[in-house]
Point group: C2
Chain length 194, copies 2
């Protein structure tokens, strides 16, 4: 059951866990299926779960006063979804997370995650790596956001995460880049690269 999840954890602990250890992990997480367009998290709620995507595609976004959506993060297989701030501090979130494809996640509460870490300390390495990588990725995205033009942002994303272009509509890519869909459409016309 969930061999990709097991492999993922082993990869970040740098070790191979025993069947007993995996049983501890498996029991801490609860599987959940999310239909296309269904919410995993809504603005104002507290983010109760940290969710590992086994299959599917999701997005995390804010909605401004004009009703425009601004996508902060995409998530696909083997990515985690949550508002870390809300999850850790139990504060209401400003984000929405919903599914763009039929999605299957494994969810853990903060309490169960804490308990799991006590019984299986390797799990600490996983969340530490998660924060570290998240921090580095976020830093890169900030650099791009403040220093690149719309076209450069597009080329950068196309180079670093081409998979997004296969899994999400162009309108969402534009929102992720912080530019209008029309601008992205015009930029792509001038860049024959797919």
């Amino acid at each position: 059951m969930y061999p990709s999840f097991r492999k993922y954890i082993d990869q970040y602990t740098g070790d191979t866990m025993t069947d007993d250890e995996f049983e501890l992990v498996r029991r801490a997480f609860v599987p959940k299926k999310i239909r296309k367009k269904q919410y995993l998290l809504q603005e104002g709620d507290v983010c109760k779960y940290l969710s590992f995507i086994v299959k599917g595609a999701m997005r995390q976004y804010t909605v401004d006063e004009k009703g425009n959506e601004h996508i902060v993060r995409f998530g696909i297989e083997n990515w985690w979804m949550a508002d870390r701030e809300s999850f850790e501090l139990l504060t209401p979130t400003i984000y929405n997370i919903d599914a763009w494809e039929e999605t299957e996640v494994l969810q853990v509460t903060l309490a169960n995650l804490t308990e799991l870490k006590e019984r299986f300390p390797g799990m600490n390495k996983v969340t530490t790596a998660l924060d570290k990588r998240g921090h580095i990725a976020a830093q890169k995205r900030i650099t791009a956001a403040i220093s690149l033009t719309a076209e450069e942002k597009y080329l950068d994303l196309f180079k670093t995460h081409p998979i997004f272009f296969q899994r999400f509509p162009q309108t969402m890519i534009a929102s992720y880049l912080g530019i209008s869909p029309e601008t992205l459409s015009r930029i792509r016309k001038n860049n024959i690269l797919k």
Copy 2:
């Protein structure tokens, strides 16, 4: 020696360390003074140290092909400075870090930090909190960068980090916000708030 540093660590471990423990910490870190405009890190170098700012003000930035500087992060007392990616992975950095005020830092190498964590496990909590908070802060900055107008970005920064306006020139604030100095000047004219 360095009571603010000791207090800072206690705050993040949630405990009060013994004098022996602090002695371990103190020995792992090396103090260094950095003159105004002097580099702490230069593009192409590997970031060998994680630096805790005891006193002073610094900035981390990239320089594009046109020679324009884009400030990614400011740092003042009790903040850490480093390119985490370069520091952890030993890859060459794309950032510069230099001092805007006369600055005093405490520096630790990755090897010494790792050793310190073994002898004083509380230190793990400090770096974990650092990553967690860094991650959350970066996420907020991304949200602001992709969803706010220039004026809204200014108001947001003024609300969340008013101290930056007292420690750094307006030109640098503009660079941090990803807008031109002229635009920031005009925005401020229309916002009587300081």
